[in-house]
Point group: D2
Chain length 422, copies 4
């Protein structure tokens, strides 16, 4: 694929942003491209995901997005394979003796309305989001394009071994990493790379391996009590509002931990019907994090105890749902050195960082951990890009020249890695 083709692909994806489990157009477009290549195997949607998933929308919602993809020109035969919003793909290339090297890219978008001002390049250049209210505001369109580009570059190289390129859905909601990690396809991977563009690193800068992923668990909790008239029968209510307030107050009060950073947040709340009705239902959504998966689980266990006790305090029931989760992970020094070595000799790389600290969460960690737990190595590579607006804002955009640079560094690292013996 030429640089121009890659550019077109990225812009086509940018025009069609799709959130978690609705990546119909995106998956169809990826698979369409992959089918044109000389692959040894191609897995689509249901074949790259374990059965257990969370955050799956209802059928109406899924059909709306599948139909939208169809209208936008996605191939019907591919769409038909993405049952129940099982999106994503995996391309496998075998080129002689050598280790199995993986690359993971994520493909989903965000529920953000893209800027439409003249100084926003996608708007000016005519590839602004056509799904109003949704946007590739975190660069996953570039990641997907890199996945195709790296595949081409490796196919063109001296690469000896097996290459697996994972196109993962649902990263933004951290719901796609776990089922892909549990699909079995990671189990023979010796080395895994994941990639992210931007992250406040400028064009020309490469980060050989990112650390500091916080493990995270997101939850929803619906408090259900009994409504009553607040004036006439206040005692007849089981007040879900009081239950939620008690839970919130105490969630933030979960003790800090001496072994590392923890986090807790209740990010969304909604409930009640009228000022004069004792609320019988209030729902919250929140999350806990930790420097390590253990610390996150300490927070998660404590949070559940707090939520359930708060419900009991006010005679309510509560249902707690997992929304999404991701473990912590660390980039291995061995792969970091490979990337650094390649980056040093790549034209256009003007700055090289051995490592950086994320301080946020990412479900690539599920795939990294799967590989590492089985004795493999992993690294999460950062490719700098000048981005006008911050990640997750309406004016986010990437410097398109860095997509090619990222492909070059990643392909180089993959080839070099395969030359090693696990």
């Amino acid at each position: 694929m030429t640089a121009t083709d890659l550019l077109d692909l990225r812009r086509d994806l940018h025009r069609h942003p799709e959130p978690a489990w609705r990546e119909f157009y995106t998956t169809a477009r990826i698979v369409e491209e992959l089918k044109r290549r000389d692959l040894d195997a191609l897995y689509v949607g249901p074949d790259v995901l374990a059965d257990d998933r969370v955050g799956v929308p209802d059928d109406d919602d899924l059909e709306t997005w599948r139909e939208r993809a169809r209208s936008a020109g996605a191939r019907a035969d591919i769409l038909d394979r993405l049952d129940g919003g099982r999106t994503g793909a995996l391309a496998v290339v075998e080129r002689g003796e050598g280790p199995t090297v993986g690359l993971r890219v994520d493909i989903d978008a965000l529920p953000i309305r893209e800027a439409d001002t003249a100084d926003h390049h996608p708007a000016a250049a005519g590839f602004r989001s056509e799904h109003e209210g949704y946007m590739h505001a975190c660069g996953h369109d570039a990641h997907t394009t890199m996945g195709i580009g790296v595949l081409d570059a490796v196919l063109d190289s001296e690469f000896a071994g097996t290459l697996k390129v994972f196109f993962q859905p649902g990263e933004e909601r951290i719901v796609g990493g776990e089922p892909m990690a549990d699909s079995g396809h990671l189990d023979d991977v010796d080395y895994l790379y994941a990639v992210h563009i931007g992250l406040d690193h400028p064009s020309g800068e490469v980060v050989a391996g990112i650390d500091g992923f916080l493990a995270v668990a997101q939850f929803g909790a619906e408090f259900r009590g009994a409504s009553s008239h607040a004036g006439a029968r206040p005692e007849a209510g089981d007040n879900a509002m009081q239950a939620a307030a008690t839970a919130i107050g105490n969630l933030y009060g979960i003790p800090r931990h001496s072994e590392g950073a923890t986090r807790v947040n209740v990010g969304v709340i909604e409930g009640g019907t009228a000022t004069n009705i004792v609320p019988g239902r209030v729902a919250i959504e929140g999350e806990v994090r930790g420097d390590t998966t253990d610390l996150m689980e300490y927070m998660d266990d404590s949070a559940r105890r707090v939520i359930e006790s708060a419900a009991e305090t006010h005679g309510c029931e509560v249902a707690v749902d997992n929304l999404g989760r991701a473990p912590s992970a660390r980039s291995d020094a061995e792969l970091r050195e490979v990337v650094a070595g390649v980056a040093r000799t790549t034209d256009g790389v003007t700055s090289l960082l051995g490592s950086d600290h994320l301080g946020g969460s990412e479900d690539a960690t599920y795939l990294m951990r799967r590989v590492q737990q089985r004795g493999g190595k992993a690294s999460y590579v950062g490719i700098g890009t000048d981005h006008p607006g911050g990640h997750h804002t309406p004016t986010f955009d990437v410097d398109e020249d860095t997509v090619g640079l990222g492909i070059e560094v990643l392909a180089g690292a993959i080839v070099e890695t395969a030359s090693r013996r696990p």
Copy 2:
């Protein structure tokens, strides 16, 4: 107007339920009827309300409802007079020497979706709500009809004095009573009746005067802090969720009062954007009540202090709005006796209660208090009706025969009252 006409009117109103400040069709329909009568004065919308109002919807909302009224056949010339959602009307009849007697009926409906099952009479008989999601679920359609019916009955009687029939908007949100009470039209009223149908009293039962209105004040509070990423920068947020939770917990903890009953409720909450964002905005709606207006004000003062301190606790700002309010009131024994006397001799009245205890709130109390503070008397009369579902539920309905009975009792009481000298 014949009994059949009254029935048709009630059903027409039932088909067109409108919430507070959107009673366009209802007001137009009332005015249309009143214009056919021999009145001494007719005041419409802006002319029956003082300027200060709360709970007024935005212009788009108002226009939507005005347009809906127009499409349903409401007279354009009347709609044009209801600027800014100033709805309601007042009919005045002067018949010789005598005191001024008032009757207040309320005209607005509720945001409840009406039942559409065969056992729900309005659905079966073809006059179910045509404004989906809104419903006359508290009988104000019957009250409005009684207002017209009483006017006719008094015009047909030996009545000597002045009769004022007040058609009040916005009772359900307790926003209409105060501006109508402050309009000046109550200032010469010597005796005032207000009426409510149902209230768990069966058909044939009359309550001569209802007491036990709790004074009420409804409020909205919007907590505004600063958002931040809950994983990367938890300390940068000023957490509106924590502020709201602290407020809620402490609002319910406002001390009870030795002088009478008090109430507090936070009925609605909404805020935050995502699990991983420290919420920068959370809004609540709630209310306080008291056996007396003083007790309500004790609660209101305490609530404001709690809300403002809770905001400060978490570095947030908060804006507190009045949503609606109503004072307490008592029915005067003198009028109670008049009603009881009339009811005893009215065919169809099978049970008579001297008084009952409401335990809720009503903004008729603004009008009652206005009259009582100037030396007049007031009573809040209950007309029983068999209602299949409770008030404010989707299956509420009235026994239509009781509308005529109510008219007879009220008109009788008004005539008898006028025969007294203030």
Copy 3:
């Protein structure tokens, strides 16, 4: 006993104030007096109390007070009968045919340091408390004296029937009423009077029957978690301080009740050891009340649920103890009329109230309820007295002249009551 003797007795009791279950001197002094009278029966301590008691001090504490009583001159043979702090007494007189009429007086004192300034009469006149830190600050010394005085007056009268004078311990902690009510001695009482002096009624005023007793239940709750170093191992603690704070916040938030007044208070707290230790133990003491016993029980049930859930919220255990309780009660109209009739003809009574509203709690209600549940009647009589300081303050004192007046009214009422046939 002459008026002077009664005055001496009251002052002697005033000098020896004893709190709940330590009324050794007081009981010995009462019994000493009673033994001098011509009684048909005399029951002491263990014989006037059912077995179940709460709030009993430990043996060391009891022995300290018993020893103090001995040193003050109390008769050793009587003290020996008051095992385990089982104090109090009952005098029975049978005088021919007639109903059984009871009088209940309470005998205990308060943990308050009595004023020692010249304007405090007991200090000036030399009968200030000799038990430093304890004081008859609620007039029970006068009540006890009245009990003896009424007995003498009735013995001197035409009384026909049975008189039982109950000297009840532990009213201030509301721990004495229940075991005395359950002793069996109330079961044949047809009419019961209880008496209180003062209550902001002036000398010369009599209240024929007091109502508005709130039912009350007092509780202690000890939260037990696990201590840890707050800097080094915050996560290792199960924080009893957070548990207690959560409980307190939510206790005050127990919903108000539409059927009447309720109360809740956490009056005492204590716990923790050092700023740098996560507290493993925090204890609270509190109470709930209600207009009726049912309302109190609604509060009590809610309070227990709140306390237990709050403990769970922070991984703590909690032990909840009953400290004291008393039901609600109402004075019967029949006895109220008897008292009013007598008071009207008693010299020195300058003002008569048919009833008054207490708004507090009293465990005489246990005895009243026992009698009423078995078909008898009861009234709680108020005898006014000018008291310089409020009840339960260091400058409380009674107008000694009103003791005689109270005796006259009560004895008169008892004689008159006995002349009725149950």
Copy 4:
């Protein structure tokens, strides 16, 4: 001083434990020893402390302890100099050209009752605490002894420069460090050592430099509202209990910080008088900490806002007092290497750690920071000792042989350090 003398000194100090600002006997004993040495300067009490101090007991308390010291044989002329509980001392030795090297030891004890069982060595060997309820449970008796021992050892050595040995009061309450740091005596110190025995390191182990001191600020807060009768007048109270509970709940909820660990604890609470009184006064004591002084101050600022707002929420006043504080600090690598070098060649040192993480707080950091801010270096040295019970427990004791070992290592390090040129 011989090893036996040192042993006797340690045991004498152990028999006379004194808490913060009451170290009368201890200071007198230290000064008595120092006066026997050939010092260039000796500063006592008021001369080693800046004026501003917190946590100073009242005069009665101070006199009790001074009198106790006198009775135990402390020299009256020295005691007379310790006005207002200004305890502690500083010994200065000048030995030719060279840098100024300081050693800081702390001298105070804890309010813990020492074990008196046979397996507790001080009890068995006859030097258990003679101040019942107080105990050297953290080894400061050993530290003080080391201070004297190091002085002797340096005087006996080739040392060239100035030696300052600081005997600091009030470490356990972290109240002594700041006034000593601000005394001026640290301002010319080029190198400073502080020392702690034990800390779970066994006999024979040396830690060259300890890090991970959390900055800490301790506070007391007294909430003052208005009492009222909880049954009769609940609305008349301004409830200090609710204020305290609201404060506690929200203190633990102060947001975590992305830049490092923070801590918060409410360690002590006490207030209220009776179950039936709305509490007018509740006092808490607590603390905040941070990895850095900035982080501690973030917590401290937040805590004050929470406490003040919580008071306002319930109409209360609150007075917040500083109890004690200490900044964070780090041990410098240069001094760590010196200690490590000496330890490696010291007989009896069987294990050497370059560094350890404390995770607690210590006000030696005030002195370290003072030196470091002026360009000097500091290290906090750990001397292992087998201790049967944990620090701050009734069975804590030190292995007395390690006192000599500590002296040898510290004196060696001081001599070696002085041989460097700053």
